[in-house]
């Protein structure tokens, strides 16, 4: 084939187009960067202009099961908010971006929300490695970043003033709250099996410390790399004299984990206490999970209906399209992430309340200051349709919310709540104070 020659005219035209584009881009970027701190330009958008909320979702990657349900719940909450007249009388828009459950992409998504979508707030992301990577960028861009992650990273005081977790209790509080029940009912010598990264380390550190404080001891620590697919080899490290195995896993390996646990220990079954994180999106009646029968699981919000008898719970369940078994009404095989996704719902209503009480109007430093200090001033969220999981206490210095926790037992392939902790059970001495950080 003869090569096509590029004519001089074409080359000139291309060069001209390139030059023109670069001028436009520079101009555009200037305009963008100028408009961010400029009060008048933003205010010109008008009080009736929609409030834009960036929703950072794990649509792909290892967190996709969670992401799928977070998105459904976010949309359900949005519908309710808009039905009830929006936020401060303004309609609300949610702009979804997929972060691929990837820390690098998480940072880019935060930037895209601020510079391109020009959102008022960002909320929604879950996996701790993504939160820890993206939160500093949100702080630099000075945009409120509300996560639904349950990690201790927010409450540790190590992030920044713009990061909040007002929708779900953190791991440290969860662990602190359930530990006394575990020691009383399952024994004192524990083997901890946990994922080998930040979220798992929170479990390792805080459960171990709490166990020792209650007179128990850690028989063995078994960290598991997050990409692991087979677990038999790890069970060799569970000491014989352990009273119970404390397991928390995330990712797709949980069925293998439970099955291999059954094959390995058989009738010499240790007692089991696990975190529902492992089984979010997984039907408890799945073949292979029989070994969990009789074992105990932490739940933030009981998956099976009838365990929490409030009208709000049922209304919420209907609104997010989940049936009595915690699966999608449209597809009973599509099991929800019930113990986490309520955090998305509750966080959106916290944003609503903070906007309305602070008088936030536009993306200006002054309005963001009002929003943040108002949010930091919150102390409690009463049980309501906005907070269907139950009443909560908010610590403005830690930017963290605290609620009730549930312990459920697997009975006849369903989860039945056997204990509900008090909010006070989960409180711990604070390590940080965000309100002392500059805004």
């Amino acid at each position: 084939m003869a090569e096509r020659k590029i004519t001089r005219r074409e080359a000139l035209r291309a060069a001209g187009a390139l030059a023109g584009a670069s001028v436009l881009t520079t101009f555009g970027v200037r305009l963008l960067s100028a408009s961010v701190p400029n009060d008048t330009v933003e205010a010109a958008a008008g009080p009736r202009a929609p409030l834009r909320i960036g929703f950072q979702v794990h649509r792909t990657g290892i967190g996709a099961v969670y992401g799928r349900w977070y998105e459904r719940v976010g949309n359900a909450a949005l519908r309710l908010i808009n039905e009830q007249g929006g936020i401060a009388g303004r309609p609300v828009q949610i702009i979804v971006e997929d972060d691929g459950t990837d820390p690098k992409r998480g940072v880019e998504v935060v930037e895209k929300f601020v510079n391109q979508h020009r959102v008022d707030f960002i909320f929604g992301t879950l996996f701790s490695h993504v939160v820890i990577a993206a939160a500093p960028r949100a702080g630099e861009l000075k945009v409120p970043y509300l996560v639904v992650s349950e990690g201790y990273h927010v409450a540790s005081g190590k992030l920044n003033r713009y990061v909040f977790q007002p929708g779900i209790t953190d791991v440290r509080a969860q662990v602190t709250a359930v530990a006394p029940w575990i020691v009383k009912n399952l024994g004192k010598r524990a083997t901890l099996i946990f994922p080998d990264y930040a979220f798992g380390h929170d479990h390792r550190d805080f459960f171990s410390a709490r166990l020792r404080a209650l007179g128990g001891e850690v028989a063995a620590l078994v960290p598991i790399p997050p990409t692991e697919t087979s677990f038999t080899r790890y069970f060799a490290r569970v000491p014989r004299n352990t009273d119970f195995i404390y397991h928390v896993m995330v990712g797709p390996g949980v069925l293998t984990f439970v099955k291999e646990l059954g094959e390995h220990f058989g009738a010499r079954k240790p007692k089991l206490f696990g975190f529902i994180d492992s089984l979010e999106g997984v039907d408890i009646a799945t073949p292979g999970l029989e070994y969990l029968e009789g074992s105990f699981l932490w739940e933030a919000f009981p998956r099976y209906a009838g365990n929490v008898k409030t009208a709000f719970e049922q209304q919420y369940r209907d609104r997010v399209g989940v049936d009595a078994n915690g699966a999608s009404k449209a597809d009973p095989k599509d099991v929800s992430t019930y113990s986490h996704m309520f955090g998305v719902w509750e966080t959106l209503f916290v944003i609503k309340r903070a906007v309305e009480e602070s008088g936030y109007a536009s993306r200006t430093p002054a309005d963001y200051r009002k929003f943040i200090t108002t949010l930091e001033g919150f102390t409690s969220f009463p049980e309501s349709l906005q907070h269907p999981q139950g009443p909560k206490r908010f610590n403005g210095k830690l930017h963290q919310v605290f609620g009730h926790q549930f312990i459920s037992q697997v009975r006849n392939k369903r989860l039945v709540v056997v204990h509900r902790t008090a909010i006070e059970d989960g409180l711990y001495p604070p390590e940080g104070d965000y309100t002392k950080m500059p805004l």
Binding site: D196, P225, T227, S230, T232, A236, V254, E263, H264, V282
Partner: protein
């Protein structure tokens, strides 16, 4: 657990994972040997095998049918990819790497869209528990080891004893001369790509009752297959088999006695050492 118990566990885990890896890596090695194509999407044919197995067993309840249908379906996808992607770019080395990376994402995202992000289980076709003095072990894993051995034997016969195998080996040695002798090289390429995908998919079907079908499961399979192919000598089928078993056993032993992360580090170090010292692989015959 006593050291004896640990040793038995290490051996069992090592042999099972080594044999399954051998099956997957053999496909990768075949594709590279015959076509000189580095197939980055290879792990996703493994994943496709597992996902198709889920669909077939859910629809019909028959695992043997899945064992037959899933590799055929994966091979069909591979043949389509060969015809639509690899052939148009002339199997040039660099473009095929980029193209197969693209294929990897297309396969993954297609499975995510259709099948979803869930890890779905396939019941074991034979479920029994072997009770050893130290611990119990999955009987199905032993079945997998036996089945993988049989399939490797069959693949070996196919490559060494059949006309197709002869053509493949001839194409691998010298494409032009093979063509001059009347070997339909274009069709042999397609056959090698399809067979490579089918082998990976077979491994996926065998493994899915142990590990569930998940759309990201191909990444690990790809990584380990590459290690086996590099250690064994690129394009050397015997070397790939030996290396896969070696990786499995080292992985089993190190991860039981020390930590699985250390086992992965050790395997990576062996790859580096092989690349530095014997770039043709451990079994390379030097002239």
């Amino acid at each position: 657990m006593t050291p004896a118990g640990q040793a038995v566990l290490a051996l069992l885990e090592g042999v099972v994972s080594g044999l399954v890896l051998a099956l997957t890596a053999l496909g990768l090695s075949l594709v590279f040997g015959v076509m000189r194509v580095v197939n980055i999407a290879h792990g996703d044919f493994f994943m496709l095998g597992a996902v198709f197995a889920w669909y077939v067993t859910t629809a019909t309840g028959s695992f043997p049918l899945a064992l037959l249908a899933a590799p055929l379906a994966a091979a069909a996808v591979a043949l389509a990819a060969d015809r639509l992607v690899l052939r148009p770019i002339g199997y040039a080395p660099e473009p095929t790497i980029v193209a197969t990376i693209g294929l990897l994402y297309v396969l993954q995202q297609a499975v995510l869209s259709v099948y979803g992000p869930y890890a779905r289980p396939v019941p074991e076709p034979v479920a029994f528990r072997v009770d050893l003095p130290w611990f119990g072990y999955s009987g199905y894993k032993l079945v997998v080891a036996a089945a993988a051995t049989a399939l490797l034997g069959a693949a070996w016969l196919l490559i060494t004893r059949t006309r197709l195998g002869l053509y493949m080996r001839a194409t691998q040695q010298d494409r032009e001369i093979a063509q001059a002798f009347g070997v339909p090289v274009q069709r042999i390429y397609a056959a090698a790509f399809g067979l490579g995908a089918a082998l990976a998919a077979l491994a996926g079907v065998l493994i899915v009752p142990i590990r569930q079908a998940h759309y990201l499961m191909g990444l690990d399979a790809l990584l380990l297959s590459f290690m086996a192919v590099i250690i064994g000598g690129i394009g050397s089928l015997g070397g790939t088999l030996a290396a896969a078993l070696f990786i499995g056993l080292v992985d089993g032993a190190l991860s039981v006695f020390f930590s699985p992360t250390l086992a992965r580090i050790a395997a990576s170090l062996v790859v580096v050492a092989v690349l530095v010292a014997r770039s043709g692989g451990l079994l390379e015959v030097r002239g």
